[in-house]
Amino acid sequence: MTREQFVNRVGQEQAALRRFLTALCCGNSAEADDIAQEALIKAYLRSEQYDERGKFPAWLMKTAYRVFIDSRRRQKNRAEQPIEKALTLQGSNGSDDTFRYEELHSALATLSETIRTSILLYYMQGYQIKEIAEITDSSESAIKKQLSRGREELKNLLGR
């Protein structure tokens, strides 16, 4: 894949990727953008190894998910910015969203990172369980359990 091809394909996918990462970061759009940038640079460095037969968006999601997990590990190691605190660190243009999606972000923040990822990939991005298992390097049964648990927790939190 040439640089131009990569840029063109990323141009088509970046909005969906950033939307997913913003939800994954519980509304922290600045953090989501940083993770997206890091993930896309990593994907660019590995673009020569990309198999054209595969799905480009799923490949990007996989890279982004790994970067997100690494970023969270680094945060935990530094013991800074708990998730509740991160919720208040919105991007400069996120003030409207803070109120609009406050309930959703708070509910997502209570889920574990793996459950949140599975829920978002399944319900927001429309991936199948098999694809989610590939993206997160988990088994299909583990994803089914995470979806079931996530559904239950969100039902309780959002009062449905």
Binding site: R19, G27, I41, Y123, M124
Partner: protein, 124 residues
């Protein structure tokens, strides 16, 4: 099923305000340009290291061969320089000067080969 529909609707309706697309892509392209610069620098360094390692190999082999050949032309013992007052170590060295020369030559060749292999195997 109702939960599924509720979550699907809830998340389908999730459209947070993201930063400007063009700004985001501009930032990405700048980072990609930096990556390309680093890659070009690494390629140049690798080429330089390979050239240097080939030179080191050539120099090591030439010097090693010269020292080895020179060691065979040296006399077994330099009687003229021995007057009986030298320390024992010097005498031992003088008696084994050929072998010492041979060892130095072999060391030159070995080190040049090792250094060459290490340099060539340096990954960017």
């Amino acid at each position: 099923m109702n939960e599924d529909k509720f979550l699907k609707d809830l998340l389908a309706d999730y459209h947070p305000r993201l930063s400007d697309d063009r700004q985001f892509m501009g930032r990405l392209q700048r980072q990609m340009e930096l990556v390309e610069e680093v890659k070009a620098y690494q390629r140049a360094e690798t080429r330089k290291n390979r050239r240097l390692s080939i030179w080191m190999l050539a120099v090591g082999i030439v010097v090693g061969c010269m020292v080895t050949l020179a060691s065979f032309t040296l006399p077994a013992i330099m009687e003229t320089y021995v007057n009986g007052t030298e320390p024992e170590l010097i005498l031992v060295l003088l008696h084994n000067v050929r072998y010492i020369g041979l060892a130095i030559g072999a060391a030159f060749v070995t080190f040049s080969l090792l250094f060459t292999m290490r340099m060539v195997n340096l990954k960017p």
